[in-house]
Symmetry: C2
Subunit: 107 residues, 2 copies
DNA sequence: CAGCATCCATCATGATACTG
DNA sequence: CAGTATCATGATGGATGCTG
């Protein structure tokens, strides 16, 4: 009997895409490969994102345990974002995507 | 001098995400790993997609040379979709994403 | 600085009905 | 079957003001 692609798809890939499939998740994660970043640094490093979207995506990624948020009670406040172990495991995948792009986009 | 993440990001990953970053591109490609599929088969195998979105995404993917469209003048009409070489190169990447999901989503 | 709240315009998506 | 057309709804972008 043939393997049911549909069921498999529903179970896992859907959840992955709910997290990574949006417009901003991968860009944010990509910037964080470079190391810990503050809120404003992320905003500056991600072209065309706006505050509202950045806040929203950071929460989603934090909720999915892909990034970690650390707040420091300084004045003015400092908040640092970094990848968790789970998030770091995405690095090779995203770099492969990047590589695929270099080799295959717009030839 | 430090490598400029921003510029690199803009040049390639953005283009990749324009193609693959939507809600339906990866699901469609994933189903096509199984082999050539007709329009209706795709629609049946991708949970919750609707005709309009499927048509639109298929066109986008065809335009990006990731899938190939072949129409046959039968009655009723037959249209088959399959992955191009470029599209097939995405298989390991998407399977890694899938694997990442199995290991890291909702534990 | 690191957000949250709000208003508004525009774009993307969903659900169906319809046609060659 | 393989789409196209249409309408309703929701998500997102952009500007801006407010707070601890």
């Amino acid at each position: 009997m043939k393997k049911n692609v549909k069921i498999e798809f529903k179970c896992v890939l859907k959840d992955v895409l709910d997290i990574l499939g949006g417009k901003w998740a991968i860009p944010i994660i990509y910037v964080l490969f470079d190391g810990t970043k503050r809120f404003k640094e992320l905003e500056r490093n991600i072209p065309n994102i706006n505050t509202r979207m950045l806040v929203k995506e950071l929460k989603k990624l934090e909720g999915a345990n892909i990034i970690r948020r650390e707040a420091f009670a300084t004045i003015p406040p400092t908040v640092e974002y970094s990848l968790t172990e789970k998030g770091k495991k995405l690095q090779p995948i995203i770099l492969n995507l990047y590589k695929w792009g270099e080799e295959n986009v717009d030839l």
